[in-house]
């Protein structure tokens, strides 16, 4: 079996090539850090060749967690050969990585990608000459247009066993390298030269590997640093870039035309001093104007809501009635008709009805991800987010999280700083995901007369909680620390690839439908059974006699302070929301006539319900994603924190809304609100509010 690893700078097109080579459909996008995990596939028509797609990396000294994956794979599991994807429009920085891989001693084949972009900028690259100067094979490709793919694979497979050549540094450096090489030995087929250079760079991973040799080699490095009057890492970086500049100079002809690219022209407006923030707000407004809305009264231009309304009418009308009629005529038992029609069709249908809205949302997100705007959002928002102890890069997880929290939580891996990363992973689920969209829409429609303000309220609540948590959690010792750095590439814009956008949208839409047919269907049946049978397992017409009612009644009083504690059905919906947030609407469809809960909940309590359900623990799948990023203890802490915050804010929202609507407030609410407000103010105002708790916990080791 042969393993080929795909390595390259972030955003150079590795995953596009991977998809072409293996026939799979991994997510691609135009921002650095789309791929955060190693992925393996089999080469088409070559069952014995494995292709490994690795997260993008700028240098073999890893910086953020997803880059560690790449470095570890290359140095520990040493692939048989590497296809290095090089962005032709950005040659020098890309070759900086190439030359490091070649030093490892693995055969390298370069796929020279994005030649078209380079050509548009008036840059012409002689692939043959480049290959000769570098000492490895260079194949021009265009992964998007399927050009050069077969040639790259062939060249790579031919290169097996070859030892690539490497850069020559200055005489002083070369001398130091060869001295160090004498003291160390090769590991996992990785050359001593590579380790020697890494040791000069004082790379911490290489230092751990040769821990007992550090003292022996230190004098050589000190000598070199003294001679060249700089630190080892700077010497190597300088000399490497200088050597590359020479190679590139020989292979590249820059006609020097069109120095202002289209990207520069677009950025003149999108990241403009005055227009940058308003344009971003405008784009968000447009997305949600077309997506969120009242399905009942939507005009045709609110595509999402309008189509959702139509689909809901179709499922609730012809499909439901047709099924009832057909089954009744066939003389099927009424209890079973109830399960099929009032259970499965109504419940799953209530979720499926939102498919158009979800598709429109995913369509917009795919376009935003594909065109290159995401990195600009980070650029524009960084200053604001840093005020709340988050990085501008936190914005990508949050924006991805509006589709689904799980990829959002995973996208936090591109954040270098450990504290910021954990903080973002814990707060991503506050942003309403596509599954929470139906909850918002249903409440807007039934309780608030289709007011668009409910959606605005929900998204602002999400952002508010993220920012609030940034301040609060930074005071918790685990998250304390210096704000992270923000060194980020701004990729050139490109027009969204129509096919790519459609495919991503349909993939995600299909996943939503599949979920409705599996997890939601099961939840529906369980809820239906529990809500139609009593404890002696007798079918009951009165839902208040059911098992579900008695379970709900037993515990629903905990929500009295939030205003919806006297109706057990809202309690049950909150619990089923843990399975999947769509299940909230599914539960309403089963427990209320036509799923219409108007009249059973006051407006103030409805706001508290929305608040609690949006902020509290996300679905199990998202909790699982948090567990992967934060560990079991961290995820447990996150869920506890989210639920407490949701409860406090829900209570506060209920108090304020009740006062505003002139409703009476219950005593339990006043007590909880008062306690919550005191705690929140205390935590926000005090410098070290968790001192008492921290005293009992031994200090954790310093995090980077």
């Amino acid at each position: 079996m042969t393993t080929i690893a795909l390595v390259g700078n972030p955003n150079s097109g590795k995953t596009t090539l991977f998809n072409k080579l293996t026939g799979s459909s991994q997510r691609v996008g135009n921002w650095p850090g789309v791929t955060v995990e190693k992925k393996t596939g089999k080469l088409k028509k070559h069952e014995d060749v494995h292709i490994v797609d690795l997260p993008g990396i700028y240098s073999l000294t890893p910086y953020s967690p997803e880059e560690v994956v790449t470095r570890d794979f290359l140095s520990e599991e040493t692939p048989d050969m590497v296809i290095n994807i090089v962005d032709a429009s950005n040659l020098e920085r890309n070759l900086y990585l190439t030359t490091q891989i070649m030093e490892m001693g693995v055969p390298v084949t370069i796929a020279l990608n994005m030649m078209d972009i380079a050509k548009n900028r008036g840059i012409d690259i002689d692939a043959g000459k480049l290959g000769k100067e570098l000492g490895c094979k260079v194949v021009p490709t265009c992964a998007l247009k399927n050009e050069g793919i077969d040639e790259v694979v062939k060249a790579a497979l031919d290169s097996v066993g070859e030892r690539p050549s490497h850069l020559r540094f200055s005489d002083e450096t070369e001398k130091c390298i060869s001295e160090i090489e004498k003291h160390i030995e090769a590991r996992n087929n990785v050359s001593t030269r590579w380790y020697a250079i890494k040791l000069i760079e004082s790379d911490s991973l290489a230092q751990t590997v040769f821990e007992n040799k550090i003292e022996e080699i230190a004098p050589y490095i000190q000598d070199l640093e003294k001679t060249l009057n700089d630190s080892g890492e700077a010497i190597i970086a300088d000399e490497r870039y200088n050597a590359i500049a020479k190679i590139v100079g020989a292979a590249k002809t820059d006609k020097g035309e069109c120095k202002t690219t289209l990207t520069d022209k677009i950025d003149k407006y999108l990241t403009n001093k005055w227009l940058g923030l308003p344009i971003f707000a405008g784009i968000l407004f447009v997305v949600y104007f077309f997506t969120v809305g009242n399905p009942e009264e939507a005009q045709w231009y609110n595509f999402g809501a309008y189509l959702t309304g139509m689909l809901n009418d179709f499922i609730g009308g012809p499909v439901y009635e047709g099924a009832v009629e057909w089954l009744t005529n066939a003389n099927v038992d009424p209890v079973l008709i109830g399960l099929i029609c009032d259970g499965i069709i109504s419940g799953v249908g209530a979720v499926l009805g939102f498919v158009p809205q979800i598709l429109i949302l995913f369509l917009f997100l795919s376009i935003l991800e594909d065109c290159g705007y995401m990195a600009r959002v980070c650029f524009v928002m960084d200053r604001i987010f840093r005020r709340f102890n988050l990085s501008g890069k936190s914005f990508i997880p949050l924006l991805v999280g509006t589709g689904c929290s799980i990829p959002g939580i995973m996208a936090t891996r591109t954040i270098e700083n450990d504290c910021d990363r954990k903080l973002t992973a814990m707060t991503t689920s506050f942003i309403p995901c596509s599954a929470k969209l139906p909850i918002i829409s249903a409440f807007a429609a039934y309780i608030f007369g289709g007011s668009p303000l409910i959606a605005v309220f929900s998204y602002f609540l999400g952002i508010f909680c993220v920012l609030l948590s940034g301040i609060i959690l930074k005071k918790w010792r685990t998250f304390a620390g210096e704000p992270s750095v923000f060194i980020m590439e701004l990729p050139p814009y490109h027009a969204p690839k129509v096919w790519n956008v459609i495919k991503t949208t349909l993939d995600r839409g299909w996943a939503f439908i599949k979920k409705a047919g599996t997890l939601i269907l099961l939840a529906t049946v369980v809820i239906w059974l529990l809500s139609n049978f009593n404890w002696s397992l007798q079918f009951t017409e009165d839902i208040n006699d059911s098992m579900l009612a008695s379970i709900g009644n037993a515990i629903c009083s905990i929500f009295v302070p939030l205003g919806f504690g006297d109706d057990w059905r809202f309690m049950v919906a909150t619990i089923t929301g843990l399975v999947a947030k769509e299940a909230v609407i599914d539960t309403f469809a089963l427990l209320f006539e036509d799923g219409n809960f108007a009249g059973f909940i006051t407006s103030a309590a409805a706001l508290a319900f929305i608040t609690f359900n949006l902020i509290c623990a996300p679905c199990f799948a998202a909790i699982g994603a948090m567990k992967r990023e934060l560990g079991a203890k961290g995820a447990g802490f996150a869920v506890l924190y989210q639920c407490l915050l949701a409860y406090s804010l829900g209570s506060i929202v209920y108090t304020i809304a009740s006062v505003a609507y002139g409703d009476p407030i219950n005593a339990a609410n006043i007590i909880v609100t008062a306690i919550s407000a005191i705690i929140l103010v205390y935590v926000l105002a005090m410098k070290d509010p968790f001192k008492i708790i921290h005293r009992g916990i031994p200090a954790e080791p310093e995090v980077i």
Binding site: Y63, T263, I487, M488
Partner: protein, 73 residues
């Protein structure tokens, strides 16, 4: 010492030395801000921070805090 932070929008300069320590310094070097590299300061973000620069034919953004460690002339 003049650093990237002191540059005005549209200014061009050449990197002299990268100060600072540890991972941040390494990252700045890795991204191509090495001795002699010509850079252009394209613009500052709407709220004055971060900064967008052009270096080695691509756009890079970094905060004032990181820009401060790159000495230019």
């Amino acid at each position: 010492m003049r650093t990237i932070k002191d540059m005005q929008n549209g200014d061009t300069a050449t990197v002299v030395r990268v100060h600072g320590t540890g991972a941040v310094r390494k990252r700045v070097l890795d991204m191509g801000l090495t001795k002699g590299a010509p850079i252009v300061l394209v613009k500052r973000a709407p709220l004055g921070d971060p900064i967008e620069i052009k270096v080695r034919d691509y756009s890079l953004s970094l905060r004032n805090k990181e820009a401060e460690i790159v000495e230019v002339e």
